[in-house]
């Protein structure tokens, strides 16, 4: 009797987990696909055979998509160039200020992107930031990088927001990598750089790939900061936001579908490459002996004193694109406090825009309330779904498939996700929830579940929980007791880290929120709106405010994850 009772409970548990995953996470993620297929005629007419403009929509889609893909690929390349030396530096060296540097890396992950976009725009364009030094904007938003034809500022913003994915995954991998391999290579006669090329780099390829795909996906879906620095350029996620606001749902959903496919293909390719385990064997191309000898000599020479140059270059780049904008935005709030320093008019001041007739302060407070409520509720729901899911994933064989599928919401561009949720639950779908606070929550839950889950799974895998639960069982604990007294406390740090990350991400989310918020505006879209309506001072203040909020959350995250 007792056994079958237990089995019943286990079955109910599994079904409940599956049902919540299905309804709250998977259905919204993949609904866009079925929407596009079931309404194919409508989509086809709109995109390829519009009676007024023919296939102009299709050409626009191609243009935006190729621009976005080009941008993301370049961003990943730059991330790698800066991220690899930085990760190596962080993993292998002990120095004063190391934890501060690690915080800067994490800050890029938690910073609300629209606020950061304002900061970057301010720093480089016009005469308010760096431009003050030379009397004109250093880099205007319309300047593009030659050949690849991608605007500088967009590149800066995307690199700043995505390089942590490379640094963190690679740093983790390098810290796990036994130093004996490097030492063995050195004792066998290889210089430091040769050792890096022949040993460390090949061994970190899996980490580089998984970090790279995350950075790629984040860049592909970035909306908040991108909208602010975009000038005349349009990325694919921005196009979705615009088309939805113009009620061109069919075209928007087709582009969304393509984005989902692009992100999924990227993760699939990487997974297939990694599935072959450490078996990625670079084709054994042998250089000409002469060149080989020269290369070894160059590496040997470069392994000497000037090796600090690469560390300084990486650090300098971070200073320039991450730290500097934050300082500039804070300083500018001061400069604009009571009067617009350029025009001398008090109407442009922070005080006037916040507390004067525009009364942005009240709006900002309303938005803060909405942001905090949505972040809290969606994180809470996500934790309730994610924690049992971790047990389900680790205990049942099918769990592995779910773990795999659940990574997709993490990499799908959030505006595509928002569109999917809007079409599913909103007026044009099941018509259960209208745009507003509840639809925001439903949207944020979709990506919050995997965000909470990832660190929890990592904690689970690193802790030997099955062994300890087994020990508890041999000492007489019931399965439930074993979970409550042994494994949940061991997962606590992982869960807390996930919860904070999820809260921060929800607080800073822009792309999806734009589509589902209706009149319940959260802070990040508010900042975009302020910037677009040229309420510069209010945008400045709100950006500084968002950045301050994220610093507090960063501090919390640090307290939880440090041992």
């Amino acid at each position: 009797m007792r056994l079958s009772g237990r089995k019943l409970i286990a079955t109910i548990f599994v079904l409940a987990v599956l049902a919540s995953l299905l309804i709250l996470v998977l259905l919204p993620t993949f609904y866009l696909i079925s929407f596009t297929i079931t309404r194919w005629n409508e989509v086809y007419t709109d995109v390829f055979a519009n009676p007024l403009i023919g296939d102009e929509n299709w050409h626009q889609i191609l243009r935006y998509l190729s621009f976005s893909l080009r941008l993301s690929l370049i961003v990943v390349v730059i991330d790698l160039a800066f991220g690899i030396p930085l990760a190596y530096f962080l993993a292998r060296k002990q120095f004063w200020g190391k934890s501060l540097l690690e915080d800067v890396v994490t800050l890029s992950l938690v910073i609300p992107t629209s606020g950061f976009g304002v900061a970057t725009l301010l720093t480089w364009t016009g005469v308010s930031g760096l431009g003050a030094l030379i009397g004109r904007g250093v880099i205007e938003a319309s300047y593009v990088v030659p050949i690849v034809n991608v605007p500088f500022l967009m590149l800066f913003v995307h690199v700043a927001l995505t390089f942590p994915y490379i640094v963190r995954t690679l740093q983790g991998k390098l810290e796990d990598l036994e130093p004996v391999f490097e030492q063995a290579s050195r004792t066998l006669g290889a210089s430091a750089l040769t050792t890096f090329r022949k040993i460390i780099f090949p061994l970190s390829i899996p980490a580089l790939f998984s970090g790279g795909v995350l950075a790629f996906a984040r860049s592909l879906g970035e909306t908040g900061a991108t909208m602010i620095v975009a000038s005349i350029h349009t990325t694919a996620p921005m196009a979705i936001v615009r088309w939805v606001s113009e009620f061109k749902l069919a075209t928007a959903s087709f582009l969304g579908l393509l984005l989902i496919i692009a992100a999924t293909v990227a993760i699939l390719i990487v997974d297939i490459l990694l599935q072959r385990g450490g078996r990625i064997k670079a084709p054994r191309f042998s250089l000409m002996p002469k060149i080989r000898g020269k290369l070894l000599k160059v590496e040997k020479a470069a392994s000497g004193k000037p090796r600090h140059i690469k560390d300084i270059v990486g650090l300098g780049a971070i200073m320039l694109i991450v730290i500097l904008p934050i300082f500039v935005v804070v300083a500018s709030v001061g400069a604009y406090w009571s009067v617009d320093p350029d025009t001398g008019r008090p109407q442009g001041s922070v005080l006037y825009q916040l507390f004067g007739p525009p009364n942005y302060f009240a709006t900002l407070m309303d938005s803060t309330l909405i942001s905090v409520i949505t972040a809290a509720i969606s994180t809470y729901i996500a934790a309730c779904v994610a924690i049992p899911s971790v047990y389900f994933i680790k205990r049942y064989r099918v769990g592995r498939i779910f773990r795999y599928i659940l990574r997709i919401p993490l990499i799908v561009p959030s505006s595509a996700l928002g569109l999917s949720v809007l079409l599913l639950w909103g007026p044009s779908g099941f018509n259960l929830v209208s745009p507003g606070i509840w639809l925001i929550i439903l949207t944020h839950v979709v990506f919050s579940v995997p965000v909470v889950m990832e660190p929890t799974i990592a904690a689970y895998e690193g802790s030997g929980i099955p062994t300890y639960e087994g020990v508890a069982r041999t000492l007489g604990a019931s399965p439930y007791d074993a979970i409550e007294t042994v494994s949940l406390p061991m997962l606590k740090r992982g869960i807390l880290a996930g919860v904070i990350l999820s809260f921060t991400r929800s607080l800073g989310e822009t792309g999806a929120t734009f589509l589902v918020m209706g009149s319940d505006v959260t802070v990040p879209p508010l900042v975009v709106n302020m910037a677009e309506s040229l309420a510069t001072s209010a945008a400045l203040f709100s950006s500084a405010y968002l950045i301050a909020l994220s610093l507090v959350l960063l501090l919390l995250f640090r307290m939880v994850t440090r041992r």
């Binding site: 290579s185 004792t187 006669g189 070894l296």
Partner: protein
């Protein structure tokens, strides 16, 4: 000619709070198989890593073959280093591992191929050249690691607990194989181990280290027969320690020592200690004679057998003497009769087989502590 010389080498960790190696002077001769032994944390591995250049000394100088190498990076020291965890590169197969040294030193292709083949044939793994490291057993991996270290052309081989991760049986087999290789190839080898029997079995000379200092350097025979301190007497082989006081001189080279319970025994004098000095006698378990009942032996002591353990080659007796001291006596299992628990016995030892040391300042137990 790779002889190795360390002059006043010192290394501290944690900003000087932990002294790992303290003013070590050492001279390893050319073509010598040298072992550094000591309990864990004694500084032996740090010493080896300083010779390799993996750790920088705080003070002192290190010479390899008359060349001052203290400032050189490891890749310029011409050494072969074998790690306890093998450290075979997981991204390469056996062949690429073994030819790594020749490759990064940009040797000619033909020479590299030849050396790789020779080295792998030497450790009988040539036919496994295409295997990846994780397909090999521990013993095979260590043989590959050994041939990899040798293929780089070094004449100085540094072995850091090379057998520590292996099963007991393979450990003993492989240690003779390593010694044979070193001798056949005329190499100088420095072998770090915490296992004194391994050190005794492979090396020409041994240095015993404790707490960052070298206590004694000598051949295995010297260390066993003439330990210069209580710690060495206990660490190399095994010893019983009996506390007492010198009563008087006896003959030319002997003294009478009064043990607890007023037993007087005769021991070899060490020359310096005077009558009245508190001393410790170290006697190896295999140095005792053991007979049943009360008998008259040289330096005879009577007691009762408390425990008997059969250990294959030896039988090990734990004997409680009438003065309440406990003594371990080991007898070969194939020679003579076995005694049983609760038997009354007499044990004795010849004065030449005892070593007398002054009683340590911090007490006997503290002196014998391993950590």
């Amino acid at each position: 000619m790779p002889n190795v010389k360390l002059v006043n080498v010192r290394k501290t960790f944690a900003k000087g709070r932990v002294v790992a190696v303290d003013q070590v002077n050492l001279h390893v001769h050319d073509k010598e198989y040298f072992a550094l032994v000591g309990p864990s944390g004694c500084g032996k591995t740090t010493t080896l890593r300083m010779i390799a250049g993996l750790v920088e000394p705080d003070e002192g100088q290190i010479f390899i073959g008359d060349r001052l190498v203290s400032e050189l990076p490891p890749e310029d020291r011409d050494i072969g280093y074998v790690f306890q965890q093998y450290a075979l590169f997981p991204n390469m197969d056996v062949w690429d591992n073994v030819t790594y040294g020749p490759t990064v030193k940009a040797w000619e292709d033909r020479k590299r191929e030849r050396i790789g083949r020779e080295m792998l044939q030497m450790v009988r793994l040539y036919e496994r050249a295409d295997a990846v490291p994780r397909e090999l057993s521990g013993g095979m991996m260590q043989r590959v690691a050994l041939s990899r270290a040798l293929a780089a052309g070094a004449e100085l081989l540094l072995l850091d607990e090379p057998l520590g991760a292996l099963d007991a049986k393979i450990r003993t087999e492989l240690r003779y194989e390593i010694r044979k290789l070193v001798k056949d190839l005329d190499l100088t080898a420095i072998h770090v181990t915490h296992d004194q029997s391994e050190a005794m079995a492979v090396s020409d000379r041994i240095a015993v280290m404790k707490k960052g200092r070298i206590l004694q350097v000598g051949t295995p025979h010297e260390l066993y027969m003439k330990p210069q301190g209580i710690f060495v007497a206990n660490f190399i082989g095994e010893s019983n320690f009996l506390e007492g006081r010198i009563v008087r001189k006896e003959g030319k080279a002997g003294v009478i020592v009064r043990l607890r319970g007023d037993f007087d025994v005769k021991s070899r004098s060490n020359g310096r200690l005077k009558a009245g000095a508190k001393v410790v006698l170290a006697i190896r378990p295999e140095a005792f004679e053991l007979v049943q009942g009360k008998e008259k032996l040289e330096n005879s002591l009577v007691g009762v057998i408390e425990k008997v353990r059969f250990e294959g080659t030896d039988i090990r007796y734990e004997i409680r003497l009438v003065n309440d001291e406990k003594v371990i006596v080991v007898r070969p299992s194939l020679g003579g009769e076995w005694l049983e628990e609760d038997n009354n016995v007499t044990i004795g030892f010849s004065p030449e087989k005892s070593h007398m040391f002054p009683y340590p300042e911090k007490g006997l137990r503290a002196e014998l502590e391993l950590e």
